[in-house]
C-alpha cells in the first residue's frame, strides 16, 4: 500500500466515525419543539453522576427525569435537599422523541428559585 492510500484510509476512518457519533448527540434524542412544564413532587431522587435522576407524575404516567451532573447542579445552587422530601418542584424539559416517558430537564424552579441545568 502506498503512503497516500494508507493515509487516505486512516483519514477517512478518523472523519467518518466521529461524524456518525455526532449525529447521535444526547440532546438530539429529545424533542426541543415540545416543551413540557410539570409541577409536582419528585420521587426516587438520585443525586448522582453522570447526571442526576428522579421520577415525576405527568399526564397520568410516571416519567423519568434526567437532570445534570452533580457538580454543575451544585455550582448553580441546586441541592439534593431542595428537590427531595416531596416539595413541589417545577420542571421545564423536553420529552424523548421515541415516545419513552422520559424528559430531559432544561430548568428547575423550587422555593422561588430557578436553576438552569443546561
Amino acid at each position: 500500500m502506498t503512503l497516500h492510500k494508507s493515509l487516505a484510509g486512516a483519514v477517512a476512518l478518523a472523519v467518518l466515525i466521529p461524524a456518525a457519533a455526532l449525529a447521535h448527540h444526547g440532546w438530539s434524542s429529545y424533542d426541543a419543539e415540545k416543551t413540557l412544564t410539570v409541577t409536582g413532587p419528585l420521587t426516587d431522587v438520585a443525586w448522582r453522576n453522570p447526571h442526576g435522576e428522579a421520577k415525576v407524575k405527568y399526564a397520568g404516567k410516571t416519567w423519568a427525569v434526567i437532570l445534570a451532573p452533580v457538580a454543575r447542579m451544585e455550582a448553580r445552587g441546586l441541592t439534593q435537599a431542595m428537590i427531595s422530601g416531596g416539595k413541589p418542584v417545577t420542571l421545564v424539559g423536553y420529552p424523548r422523541k421515541d415516545g419513552l416517558t422520559e424528559m430531559r430537564i432544561e430548568r428547575v424552579t423550587v422555593d422561588g428559585k430557578t436553576v438552569e441545568l443546561r
Binding site: S6, A20, A21, G26, V70, A71
Partner: protein
C-alpha cells in the same frame, strides 16, 4: 454476571463513583487522556507497520510509541472501571458496552499475536513486509478506533 455487576454498583466504589461530584468527571478526563495516548501511540505505529511513513525507522517507533500506548491502557482500564462501577447494572446489559468489551479483548489478542508472530521480523520489515503483519496492524488501528467510537456511543444508545 449481572449479580456481580449489581454488587459492584452497590459497593463503596460504585457509591463513590456516582455520588462524588468529582470522581466521575475526573475518571472521564483520565479515560480520555488514556485514549489519546493509546491511539496516538499505537495508531502511528500501526500506520507505519501497515506501510505508511517509510522514512521513519520501525524499531525506534516501536520502542518509543509502544510504552506510550501501554501507559494509555494503564490509565484507560482503572478510569473505565470507576465509570463502569457507577452504572454497572445497566452497562452490563448494554449491547454497545458488550461489543466494546468484546472488541477490546479482540484488539488485545491481536496485539499479543502480533508480538508472537512478527516482533522478530521488524528489522527487515520494509525489505519484505509480510501481508499478514500489515493486515494485523491495519486491523489493530481499526479495532481501537471502533472501540473508542463504541465507548462514546454508550451514552447515546
Amino acid at each position: 454476571m449481572e449479580a456481580l455487576a449489581a454488587a459492584l454498583q452497590a459497593s463503596p466504589l460504585g457509591v463513590w463513583a456516582r455520588g462524588s461530584d468529582l470522581a466521575y468527571p475526573v475518571a472521564n478526563l483520565i479515560h480520555l487522556l488514556g485514549l489519546v495516548m493509546l491511539i496516538g501511540g499505537i495508531g502511528v505505529l500501526d500506520l507505519r507497520l501497515t506501510g505508511a511513513f517509510r522514512r521513519l525507522p520501525v524499531e525506534a517507533l516501536w520502542r518509543y510509541l509502544l510504552p506510550i500506548a501501554a501507559a494509555g491502557v494503564c490509565l484507560l482500564v482503572p478510569a473505565g472501571f470507576v465509570m463502569f462501577a457507577a452504572d454497572a447494572s445497566s452497562l452490563a446489559v448494554s449491547t454497545v458496552f458488550r461489543w466494546k468489551v468484546a472488541l477490546i479483548v479482540l484488539a488485545l489478542a491481536n496485539a499479543g499475536a502480533y508480538h508472537l508472530l512478527w516482533r522478530r521480523r521488524l528489522a527487515s520489515w520494509d525489505a519484505a513486509p509480510p501481508l499478514g503483519g500489515r493486515l494485523m496492524a491495519a486491523g489493530s488501528l481499526t479495532l481501537w478506533l471502533v472501540v473508542a467510537a463504541l465507548g462514546r456511543w454508550i451514552a447515546y444508545a
